[in-house]
């Protein structure tokens, strides 16, 4: 009993000491920093406009994707945080260039303005084809070779098509990392030009990308949802951060994509659900066990991953892919499935590296 009562108290005290110490350190640091500037105090009158900081720069979004404005923040030398107003409209169903204008005005009436260009480009269909991973031949009617040899080998998968995958690990800002990197946030497929979300281990700090998170399928865009929007909150707390009655925390694919695009991942704000062809590009059918390259995609779970592709013969379903056995199947949108987001690397753009 004694220990049970005392422990949290002790913890609290240490936490408080730590907090005070940190606060002291921080304030002394900022004092030190400010010291040389001391003579330059704020002018008596606020004549400077607030500074607007855009989350993400210009955007290129695929047609028929739900557009989420990553937003902007503004700070003023007198007023601190200032509200930002957005004007302009993005029609994600029509190709073209759109301008969003962000304005912020401080209490003295100084006005700042910044713009963001949003370009709507054609949606992705079939990516350049990847290897299947098969490097050995099969015999008829049974038996498999170790290598690409045997009676029918010359006509088989192992003798044709691409051989091998070409991946690059990317850091949290989207910069390329060496193959040996221990931590990475995204993977670029150099052949298909697709950039993939990498899942993290489940932990209190896992954030948006925990490998355990699951979602119901939801798509609000009528041109691409097969005739039904799916489910907003069928299963409740199946992903990190779920809060009842707070829609933007719900565990559906639409809300998840919005969350990632607001926050940004690997320097990008144009993440989306992959179509079934894109998801298939990651399949590696070479060996028993996981049908994906686990050196680049660790934390892949057994079970289905959602594709954005609706099922033509049943509007309550979408296509899914299970990387534990390589099978694609149709699944009800109310089911709980994993998600691996994708975006398209833009030639010549920020992704050229």
């Amino acid at each position: 009993m004694y220990r049970v009562v005392n422990k949290p108290l002790l913890k609290n005290i240490t936490a408080w000491i730590g907090f005070l110490w940190l606060a002291g350190l921080l304030s002394s640091c900022s004092l030190l920093e400010k010291a040389p500037e001391a003579p330059k105090t704020l002018p008596d009158k606020d004549t400077e406009a607030p500074k607007i900081q855009l989350n993400g720069g210009d955007l290129v979004i695929e047609r028929h994707q739900y557009f989420t404005d990553p937003g902007a923040t503004a700070t003023d030398d007198f007023d601190g945080q200032v509200a930002v107003k957005v004007s302009g409209k993005v029609k994600s169903h029509a190709l073209g260039s759109y301008t969003l204008t962000y304005t912020a005005t401080d209490q003295a009436g100084n006005r700042a303005e910044r713009q963001r260009q949003v370009k709507i480009v054609p949606y992705s269909t079939v990516p350049p084809l990847n290897d299947t991973g098969i490097a050995w031949a099969a015999n008829y009617p049974q038996g498999n070779e170790e290598k690409c040899r045997g009676e029918l080998a010359a006509m088989q998968d192992c003798a044709h098509g691409r051989d091998g995958f070409n991946f690059t690990k990317l850091d949290a800002e989207g910069r390329p990392l060496p193959r040996s990197a221990k931590r990475w946030s995204c993977v670029k497929d150099n052949h298909t030009g697709l950039i993939w979300e990498v899942k993290t281990r489940q932990s209190k700090r896992a954030g948006l990308h925990s490998r355990e998170d699951q979602y119901n399928l939801r798509n609000l865009i009528w041109a691409s949802n097969g005739g039904a929007t799916g489910y907003r909150n069928h299963d409740g707390h199946i992903c990190t951060g779920f809060i009842a009655r707070k829609q933007d925390t719900y565990c559906n694919t639409h809300a998840f994509v919005q969350r990632v695009n607001k926050k940004g991942l690997c320097g990008a704000h144009d993440w989306r659900l992959p179509n079934i062809q894109e998801l298939t590009s990651l399949l590696k059918l070479r060996e028993r066990g996981a049908k994906i390259d686990r050196r680049y995609f660790p934390n892949t779970r057994r079970g289905g991953y959602w594709s954005s592709t609706p099922v033509a013969f049943d509007k309550s379903m979408n296509w899914q892919l299970d990387f534990s056995n390589g099978r694609d199947t149709v699944t009800a949108r109310r089911d709980e499935l994993y998600v691996r987001l994708v975006r398209t690397a833009l030639p010549g753009g920020a992704d050229a590296n």
């Binding site: 031949a137 998968d157 013969f313």
Partner: protein, 179 residues
């Protein structure tokens, strides 16, 4: 180890049904599903072949057994074992080829899947590009690592993949690389 015994149980039934001349029309959801194989992504060579501009693959418009006549495929497509599929292809290449090319082959799993049109079913293919395609199962050249007997294919009735015994009978559509 075991490869979907269900398929082998009901496939004979499917064959039995398919013997009855079918006039079933294709269904496509043009309005609210985006096509992944729009006609503009293909270049027709007007000789029974098309090139898929997204993948660079050249496809035979008709299934093996059918004949290409003025933009249509006439005759009956032939079902064959995985071995027969490869031997027949080899033979065709050795005896003059098709449309001036003699490097045709069975598509691998990803190649075969790349021409599934998920917007449609019965069959799940763009019929403007691949007319008169039967709503049948097709072989790929990709063997199934999880089985000593299996190889992968795609059901073009609804677009789903399958793995089945190599000595079962399915249809084939040939492909070649253009680069």
């Amino acid at each position: 180890m075991q490869i979907r015994p269900i398929i082998s149980v009901w496939m004979p039934l499917v064959w039995a049904v398919s013997l009855v001349p079918s006039v079933e029309a294709q269904t496509c959801k043009h309005k609210n599903t985006l096509p992944l194989t729009p006609t503009k992504d293909f270049k027709s060579h007007q000789d029974g072949t098309v090139t898929h501009l997204k993948t660079g693959l050249m496809w035979q418009v008709c299934s093996l057994g059918q004949n290409w006549q003025k933009g249509k495929c006439v005759g009956k497509a032939k079902a064959m074992t995985w071995q027969q599929a490869m031997l027949t292809t080899q033979q065709q290449n050795q005896q003059g080829g098709y449309a001036g090319h003699s490097d045709w082959r069975l598509p691998n799993f990803k190649e075969l899947k790349s021409i599934v049109e998920y917007q449609c079913f019965d069959p799940a293919i763009n019929q403007r590009v691949f007319p008169n395609t039967p709503s049948e199962y097709y072989w790929s050249s990709t063997p199934d690592v999880d089985s000593r007997y299996g190889a992968f294919g795609i059901g073009f009735d609804r677009g789903e993949s399958f793995s089945d015994y190599r000595d079962d009978y399915y249809f084939i559509r040939l492909v070649r690389e253009t680069h």
